[in-house]
């Protein structure tokens, strides 16, 4: 088997199980609402909210005490009739945009949102410049030897022949 094939096999072997497996959730049975529609909405909202104690987990994934309190709070607001956006605004009013795992597009986050695009454009420009230079360099070299070079080559070959025939 060739190398690229092995690498491809490895990549598939790692990513497919990761995609198929669902991440572990921390929601306790006693938190789950009997209304499945509301529960579904609560799960969706919880997955968008960052747990401030563990910071890189959503409150849906986190076992932290505060995450649990916030999950219960989200469900309470939904039962009270809040829309999804109202629930999210309620949490953001207390903890700030930082709790949103998906940062909103606003003046403070323009740099954050624009940087991948800017970097991609810069990378494209760099690659284009590299290939253009390569092309120019190979184009600059003539296919045939110049007269001087040809004479010099002949000289070398002659000497070599003479040496060889000695």
């Amino acid at each position: 088997m060739n190398r690229p094939f092995l690498i491809l096999l490895g990549v598939i072997g790692v990513t497919v199980p990761l995609l198929l497996s669902s991440p572990a959730h921390a929601v306790n049975p006693d938190e789950i609402l009997s209304n499945t529609v509301l529960e579904e909405r609560a799960r969706d909202i919880s997955q968008e909210l960052r747990c401030l104690v563990c910071q890189n987990q959503s409150i849906d994934d986190s076992d932290a005490d505060l995450a649990r309190d916030l999950r219960v709070l989200v469900r309470e607001r939904l039962v009270a009739g809040d829309t999804d956006q109202q629930v999210i605004d309620y949490i953001v009013a207390r903890y700030g945009d930082y709790v949103l795992l998906n940062p909103p597009l606003k003046p403070e986050t323009y740099v954050l949102w624009a940087s991948p695009i800017v970097l991609a454009i810069l990378a494209l420009i760099a690659v284009a410049a590299f290939y253009r230079r390569k092309q120019r360099e190979s184009g600059a070299k003539p296919d045939k030897l110049s007269k001087d070079e040809q004479t010099r080559l002949n000289e070398i070959l002659e000497t070599a022949q003479k040496d060889g025939s000695k």
Partner: protein, 178 residues
Amino acid sequence: MRFSLAVIPLVLFAALAGIFLINIDKDSSVVPSVLIDKPAPDFSLPPLPGADKGLSRADLTKGKVSVLNVFASWCIPCRAEHPMIKRLSNEADVPIFGLNYKEKDPQDGVKWLEELGNPYQAVGMDLSGRTGIDFGVYGVPETFIIDGQGQIKYKHIGPVTSEVLEKVLLPKIAELKG
């Protein structure tokens, strides 16, 4: 052309080094509060068992700068910072209020204050942690400085050390008292 290309890594390195230098003292786990310069949330908490006065928003709007310290008996850093809260009550002439956050048993807060001393003018018991959430509390201990009109002016996250007390809290309180 060739020279300017060669300079790019150097410039990138200098820029990165600059960013790292600016952030070297920053604790990335500290999330700044969105409640700064906003009115403290409305709340009303019952007293600890045996105490006669709880804590409500009205206590924070009496025209005097005050401090609200969020603590819990199960919180080890709270134990560590407690002497500093006592110092604060001695050195700054402001009322200090306690928010006893999420005790498993109401008696835990009482025992804790009996053991370590009580620097608080009043303590509200937040068993559910809901008032804590309204204040944007995410890691005890937290210490709020609140102006006389009940506006949150500053929040310190984590234990108050003598350095924080002397260099941050006391000057901030003095500044607000004017």
